[in-house]
């Protein structure tokens, strides 16, 4: 099976909850849209049972152009990090237990 996409998420709302196709697509778009708006408004998001989207501010640090070796500073920036919750971590680890070591 390929990766889960918004289209499949909308299909599930249609199949399982009986939303019509337009409503289903709208809810999926709003879900990711509101997450994005929150994060770009400097607001973290906590989805209990899944995980937290956190914001970190990174100071400027020295960097290097990997092609030319030239030194160029990496400017200060704000980045999103995801911290999976205990429940999600436990479910994913259970998967690992069923796999042969890769």
């Amino acid at each position: 099976m390929g990766a889960l996409t918004k289209a499949q998420m909308a299909d599930r709302l249609f199949d399982e909850l009986g939303l019509n196709k337009r409503e289903a697509k709208e809810i999926v778009d709003m879900f990711f849209g509101e997450l994005r708006i929150s994060l770009e408004s400097n607001e973290q998001v906590k989805l209990s049972g899944f995980g937290n989207f956190e914001l970190r501010e990174k100071g400027e640090r020295p960097g290097r152009n990997p092609k030319t070796g030239e030194e160029i500073p990496i400017t200060a920036r704000r980045v999103v990090t995801f911290r999976p919750g205990q429940k999600l971590k436990a479910r994913v680890e259970a998967y690992a237990g069923t796999q042969s070591e890769q």
Partner: protein, 128 residues
């Protein structure tokens, strides 16, 4: 078990964590319910919980999630290692495992980063 998991993300220590606030799942549900007019708040709640459950199931089955403009979720493998009980100093073998990982998409990365630079007053800005 309880002492596992700390410090694995290795976030660097001198980052600022000046955050503006937090949105919870129930606030997100209320916000979406208020912004659309076809579904009841109960239906929106059920829909959002279904989406989150589907995302968890996908990762728990070892599959990826790819949301254009937002980012992708995948599993990263952590090799087996020797851990230590911080209380007793005793060594314990920890099996290899998979952990969920999120990589923000370019659009989300750019927008979040821009929001820092366009903030009216940024107390962390270097004086010129």
């Amino acid at each position: 078990m309880l002492c596992q998991g700390w410090g694995e993300d290795g976030g660097s220590n001198n980052d600022n964590n000046d955050i503006g606030g937090t949105m919870t799942k129930s606030e997100l549900i209320e916000l979406i319910a208020a912004k659309q007019n076809q579904l009841s708040a109960k239906d929106v709640e059920l829909a959002i919980k279904t989406l989150i459950e589907q995302m968890s199931e996908t990762l728990a089955a070892g599959n990826r999630i790819e949301i254009r403009g937002f980012g992708s979720f995948s599993l990263h493998y952590r090799a087996p290692r020797i851990g230590r009980n911080p209380k007793t100093g005793e060594s314990v073998g920890l099996a290899g495992k998979y952990v969920p990982h999120f990589k923000p998409g370019k659009e989300l990365r750019d927008r979040v980063n821009q929001s820092m630079h366009s903030a009216e007053v940024n107390p962390y800005e270097e004086p010129n």
